[in-house]
């Protein structure tokens, strides 16, 4: 990863101060949240609402080996605006981008550089649950987002595999190198 110099210096230090930010592009407007306390205004002018640790992001992984990891954002103790989105129509969120950022802080919790985009996915499924517990009800909203590498929208015969390519155009070797392409070293031009 390429970090700005100030962040590099911070990362080389003994302790790291870093918050994770999540930006969801809903149809009715972009909504930014972060896991800290109160409102955070980052240097790129965006405003993030604090979740005070109620939010959870899981599934951030590198897309190695052709996998398309699913991102899951979970929020417990849901505010009104969010609940309205969860109950609203699917067009509000379906196939719209959710971007995860990292924001680094200096020793005095000042902002270091701009937020750094880590991962992104297209929002697919928004579920809300309500569980009864001893202390009352716990409401949870989860959004799952898929990376653009997942090919679930395409019909099965339309993968770029050697077999598919030969089905479409007999004798075409164009896709012969695609299996394992992300872990294979290909020298080009190869004399």
């Amino acid at each position: 990863m390429v970090f700005p110099e100030t962040t590099k210096a911070h990362l080389a230090g003994r302790s790291v101060r870093k918050a994770r930010l999540l930006e969801m592009s809903f149809l009715s407007g972009t909504m930014g949240v972060w896991n800290g306390f109160g409102i955070l205004e980052t240097k790129d002018g965006k405003v993030w609402n604090g979740l005070q640790g109620f939010g959870k992001i899981s599934g951030i992984a590198s897309t190695m080996g052709g996998k398309a990891p699913e991102l899951i954002f979970t929020l417990s103790g849901v505010d009104e605006e969010f609940a309205a989105k969860a109950k609203g129509e699917a067009v509000e969120y379906f196939n719209r981008a959710a971007v995860v950022y990292d924001q680094f802080f200096d020793e005095e919790w000042g902002l270091l550089d701009q937020p750094y985009a880590v991962s992104f996915g297209m929002m697919r499924k928004l579920t809300s649950t309500r569980e009864a517990s001893n202390d009352g009800f716990v409401r949870t909203v989860s959004i799952s987002a898929e990376s653009p590498f997942s090919a679930k929208k395409r019909a099965k015969f339309a993968y770029l595999t050697p077999q598919d390519q030969r089905n479409r155009h007999p004798g075409d070797a164009f896709a012969d190198d695609t299996p394992g392409i992300d872990t294979r070293r290909i020298t080009f031009p190869d004399f």
């Binding site: 302790s15 109160g38 919790w109």
Partner: protein, 235 residues
């Protein structure tokens, strides 16, 4: 909805602290684990063994706790910390019972209250700043570990936010440069009053069961209270 803590209810032990918001990695063989700070933390408090002896106190406790509705409504409460305030010549931090100009008091026999410590913000500072310049008109020596409060207008209501000096201040004439935590919740402007004498902050009950009142022999009780800093999405 905001409620104020009654001065009739005083705890015997007070625990106020900044709860860090760190995330930790799994523990290694040596027992160490990596720590990543996600934010500077927020106030939590455990106030135990309140002295509840009189019918007035029992009624006040019951009414107030029910009014807070288990973390739904805000409570403005102080850390009961006047002994550590920067008092001037060991005078009390706040003086009560001040009469009107003709020597009379309010109908319930109380007077005005006034702080003996006067400090204001010396320069504007944005939200999430952890440094501030203060103008000191009248105050004892500022030391680290002291609490202070700055009230600000948020969505039409005055909201107190409490901070604590975390480094020894640097003094220059009648001003002091301070470092504190948590970061400023709301931006402050030059001239805003900084209350060292009677700090207050906005809190919620930590859970729905906090503040249960168990009355012994129909008379006595020593209830406890668990609180955490309020955040309602506005400040």
């Amino acid at each position: 909805m905001v409620s104020y803590w009654s001065s009739a209810l005083v705890p015997q032990s007070v625990m106020f602290r900044l709860k860090p918001m760190n995330t930790r990695g799994p523990m290694t063989f040596s027992g160490k684990s990596q720590v990543v700070g996600t934010d500077a933390g927020f106030w939590v408090a455990t106030l135990s063994n309140f002295i509840v002896r009189t019918p007035e106190q029992i009624r006040e406790w019951r009414g107030l706790i029910a009014d807070l509705q288990g973390g739904l409504n805000d409570l403005i409460i102080g850390p009961f910390d006047c002994r550590q305030a920067p008092r001037v010549d060991r005078r009390p931090a706040t003086i009560g019972g001040i009469t009107h100009s003709d020597g009379s008091r309010f109908s319930d026999k109380t007077g005005y209250r006034q702080s003996t410590i006067k400090v204001t913000v010396g320069a504007d500072a944005g939200a999430r700043s952890t440094r501030l310049r203060l103008d000191i008109q009248e105050a004892g020596k500022l030391e680290r570990g002291m609490y202070f409060t700055i009230w600000s207008l948020v969505a039409g209501a005055m909201v107190p936010r409490m901070y604590m000096l975390t480094k020894t201040p640097e003094f220059g004439g009648a001003s002091a440069s301070i470092q504190f935590l948590p970061p400023l919740r709301v931006a402050v402007q030059q001239g805003d009053e900084v209350d060292f004498a009677d700090p207050k902050l906005t809190m919620n009950l930590a859970n729905d069961d906090a503040g249960e009142l168990d009355i012994r022999l129909r008379r006595f009780s020593s209830p406890s209270l668990e609180l955490q800093e309020s955040w309602n999405g506005l400040s």
